[in-house]
Amino acid sequence: MRVTFTVNGRRQEADDVWEGESLLYVLRERMGLPGSKNACEQGECGSCTVRLDGVPVCSCLVAAGQVEGRDVVTVEGLADFARQRAEQGGCAGGVCGTGLDEAKRWAAKPASADAQSGEKAELSPLSPIQQAFIDAGAVQCGFCTPGLLVAADELLERNDSPSDADIREALSGNLCRCTGYEKILDAVRLAAARGESHTSGQGA
């Protein structure tokens, strides 16, 4: 079958998709987006977490056919997603999430436009949570990182100053075998703190 959906703001088509293929397989093997990882393919580890119409899901548990006409954000599109959210005012505190309509309206800028205009160097190529993971030493082997980033970014979108218990609850579906999670907590706290200082700076 043919499946057509939006990935990181761009319309994509996949042909000859077998009925049992997962969204994860289609992203990785048909669309050349291997950022979502295949650690368990059972919905247990969270390494393949993507946003489906704004909602974090394990893409290994989503049949490709289910995403027809819908909107997917993967780790490859996370930086653009976060940038556009910031430009549009983001979500100021509390639980807001991304509504279905909002998610459908969202579209990434084509990466090639950045490259052609030569502006890429000026724009931070990373979202705040991506930069925080690097700075906090939360990346070791990095296999769990894409899923954690998508989940953590969604947490911060809902709750810009999460408590440790909030962070643990939000990331409890994402396994990491290398870090002991302490630096992952650090990274989320760091991204939240940077977000706050950014906001308070603007407010003052």
Binding site: A39, Q140, E169
Partner: protein, 795 residues
């Protein structure tokens, strides 16, 4: 190697060369990893590639009567189906030390999940469905699953006709290896004991559970060879095992490390390497194999489960008199690293304590259980679980504080191991215990401190909302351990580094090329830091790891920063000397310091050790490049005597101490680990950020085995019952507490920069500390890992 260690502060304090050793430099692959662009082995892709799939045995021990592949081969989209009969050469087995592991089962299967046949097809599902059409007729054989069944009279032999070099020293062919250690006279010393404690301990089978599954891509070459892109821990060890099976000279099997999603010992043995190459060479097309999680549990060896019997004595003033122990490790169907695990378990069985009179025996079994081999801590983990429980028992019996009792018996620099080898570098065991005990304790009943009432998320059971604090008790436990660093027992544990220095765009640039497997531990970060420090350049390129450079040895045994880091340092020093030679030849006449002073490379310049600049490195080199490849070895070790266990078998030791604080819901048997504090001596923290990350990660794996991790094998059928992340549990962020880390840096004068291998030690003492805390909370004896609710509630 000793004596040439330069004071690193010389090179970093000037602030000219940034991101040298001692700094928390960020990972060079960090950006790629957070954007999803980093190519792990399962991300490899090639136009027109096929997918390989492995058919595995559904029984643990059986004769293979027939294999019918016709229907599978006739499936549309299938390009090849291979069995044992299709192997191209007479070499049909492989193995790290003993070549007893079949590439594909021939005649017999010896464990559940053993590879029997291979399929290559144009879609992974096609390959899986075709494999399901292969018909195998088995005649099941009785299974051997423990020491009693393995050594019983008439027990089936797992490997009939064994010929390996251990066969002369083992009491039964179903025993892989045996290492006794006798020192002093334990029976005589026992007479001096005022108290004697003994215990039997059971350590469950742990899985490495690295997140990136076994995977890789084999691409057939035009020359009849093959290019293999794969996640592994030791490229050259793989190569040595792969090439003979394929019937190719090693130079025609070109291996490149692809992104590795964790390893922890589970990638020391081959998994899909030969299978992918066979399918690629047969079909003439690139073949990718990616295990799913179910298959991953069958695709790599696990940590040896163990039974340990211990007896210790002590005088009433708290001094250990003697120790006797017997350690039985279950190696499963194939040898893998079992002989070396036996060596570690026996030689480190007494722990970081002074005990002069010991009687030790460790063995590893062959059985029909899943093969076991390397995992973080490698034999020392199981022993630490037992001896630390013994220390608490002794302290309790003597009415002494468990930490004070340990400190009273703690080894120091100069203490002899049971092998007679002196520990000839700092051994701050008492100090690590002191430090971990001195760390502030978490607040009592912290679930009440968050605000109004209890936040259930902080309680045992968490969001399941199983308690509001009633029936919850707290306990505190301590443990400390000793782990050897590097390969022991006379192994030629060398590494190779190639360093090139040249001028690009007016700047001196270094390229470091090694075959070291970066598995997440941060070796590439450290290599760049070493090159910056030694060569005074800012820009360092880390060449991808492949077999075009000499072996780096394995990324295991906490050895890689020591040995390959040592090789990089050694090679950089030689390159530096060449730069200085060129400088003397070009500019020596202009300044007397070229001939008389000790010269450094720093900030892109040649300087005197007083900081006077003599030349730009760029001017010295101009358009010439310096390119050297050198091997480097640590000081040699020797084999343990097979009868007495005596010998200088180890290179270096690593020490960590833990304090665990737990809360237990005694009604439901649920455990919440509140905090796991660590103190560890790292010799020299080349990258403090990475050091702490390694310590916290190792601690968490020890926590896992304490309370949840175990591969469960049915004792009647030897079948694995929980090969999935649904049923094999590893700690989540909710299960993992705060892990404060106190890092001590006591230099080992024998090691590069004084460093100590760090990756494994924190895995040792974490488990017994958690167990001690649960015992402290509940008063139960608890001699088995993992502790399950039924052990706490007696149901």
């Amino acid at each position: 190697m000793a004596g040439v260690t330069r004071t690193p502060t010389h090179l970093t304090q000037g602030g000219k060369t940034r991101a040298g050793i001692g700094e928390s430099t960020l990972r060079p692959d960090g950006t790629l990893k957070v954007t999803g662009e980093f190519a792990y082995s399962s991300d490899m892709w090639h136009e027109d590639m096929l997918w390989g799939f492995t058919l595995r045995s559904t029984v643990a021990h059986a004769e293979i009567l027939s294999i019918d592949t016709a229907e599978a081969l006739a499936t549309p989209g299938v390009y090849a189906v291979l069995t044992y009969d299709d192997l191209p050469t007479g070499v049909k087995n492989y193995g790290l030390e003993i070549q007893d592991t079949p590439v594909l089962a021939h005649g017999k299967v010896r464990h559940h999940g053993e590879p029997v046949a291979l399929v290559a097809a144009d879609h992974p599902e096609t390959a899986r469905r075709a494999a399901a059409k292969i018909r195998i007729e088995y005649r099941e054989l009785p299974v051997v699953t423990d020491e009693a069944s393995a050594t019983a009279e008439g027990a089936p032999l797992i490997h009939e006709n064994r010929t390996d070099h251990h066969i002369g020293h083992v009491p039964h062919p179903n025993i892989v290896h045996r290492q006794p250690i006798i020192r002093g006279n334990a029976d005589e010393a026992a007479k001096r004991a005022d108290v004697i404690v003994s215990g039997e301990y059971v350590f469950g089978m742990q899985d490495q559970a690295f997140l990136g599954p076994e995977s890789g891509l084999a691409v057939p070459g035009e020359d009849g060879g093959v290019d293999l892109y794969v996640a592994t821990q030791w490229l050259h060890s793989d190569l040595r095992q792969i090439a003979p099976v394929l019937g190719l000279p090693e130079e025609k099997v070109r291996m490149t490390l692809s992104g590795v999603g964790g390893a922890f010992g589970g990638r020391e043995d081959l998994s899909m390497q030969i299978h992918a190459c066979l399918l690629a060479l047969r079909t003439g097309k690139p073949v990718k194999i990616v295990y799913n999680r179910f298959e991953s549990f069958f695709g790599h060896v696990h940590r040896h489960p163990a039974r340990l019997w211990y007896e210790h004595g002590a005088t009433k003033d708290g001094k250990l008199t003697h120790m006797k122990c017997r350690i039985v490790l279950d190696g499963g169907a194939y040898a893998s690293a079992s002989p070396a695990v036996v060596g570690n378990a026996s030689s480190l069985s007494v722990g970081p304590y002074v005990v002069d009179d010991v009687d030790i025996e460790a063995i590893a079994l062959y059985s029909n259980n899943p093969p076991c081999g390397a995992m973080r801590g490698f034999g020392a983990v199981q022993a630490c679980f037992a001896y630390e429980a013994q220390m608490d028992k002794l302290a309790a019996k003597l009415g002494l504080d468990p930490v004070a009792f340990r400190q009273l018996n703690a080894m120091e620099q100069g203490t002899l191991l049971p092998t007679g080898q002196p520990v000839d570098s700092p051994a701050p065991v008492a100090e690590l215990l002191r430090r971990v005990k001195a760390m502030p304790l978490p607040p009592e009943q912290q679930w009440l401190t968050a605000g109004a009432g209890a936040d259930v998320r902080a309680l045992p059971g968490g969001l399941s909302n199983t308690t509001h604090g009633e029936g919850v008790v707290r306990g505190i436990g301590y443990a400390v351990g000793i782990k050897n660093v590097g390969f022991s027992e006379g192994f030629d544990d060398y590494s190779t580094a190639r360093v090139r220095m040249e001028v690009i765009g007016g700047e001196p640039v270094a390229t470091v090329h090694t075959a070291m497997a970066e598995v997440g531990q941060g070796g590439i970060t450290v290599h760049a830091q070493i090159a910056r420090t030694e060569l005074g350049v800012q820009q360092v390129t880390i060449h991808p790891a492949d077999t075009q450079v000499g072996s780096a040895g394995s990324t295991s045994a906490s050895r890689q920063t020591y040995v390959t880091g040592g090789a990089v340092k050694h090679c950089c020093e030689a390159v530096r000397e060449k730069v200085l030679q060129k400088g003397r030849a070009k500019f020596g006449t202009y300044h007397p310091a070229w001939a008389t002073a000790e010269l450094l490379l720093e900030g892109g310049k040649v300087t005197t050790d007083g900081g006077e600049v003599l030349a730009d490195i760029a001017d010295v080199l101009q358009d010439e490049a310096i390119d050297l490849e050198l091997e480097w070895r640590h000081r040699p070790t020797e084999a343990f005597d097979l009868h007495t266990g005596q010998g200088n078998g180890h290179v270096q030791y690593s020490f960590a101490a833990h304090r665990a604080v737990v809360e237990v819901d005694t009604e439901l048997g649920l455990v919440k680990v509140i905090e796991l504090a660590v103190a560890q001596d790292v010799g020299k923290a080349l990258n403090p950020l990475s050091v702490v990350g390694q310590i916290q990660g190792g601690t968490t794996q020890g926590l896992g085995v304490a309370v949840m991790e175990e591969i469960i094998v049915d004792p009647k059928t030897a079948k694995v019952r929980n090969p999935s992340f649904t049923d094999y549990l590893i700690p989540t962020i909710l299960d993992t507490p705060t892990i404060p880390v106190d890092v001590l840096e006591l230099a080992d004068e024998h090691a590069p920069y004084g460093l100590r291998g760090i990756g494994e030690a924190p895995t040792l003492s974490s488990t017994p500390a958690v167990l001690a805390a649960i015992r402290n909370a509940t008063g139960l004896e608890l001699n088995k890992t993992p502790v399950r609710p039924e052990h706490l509630t007696g149901t």
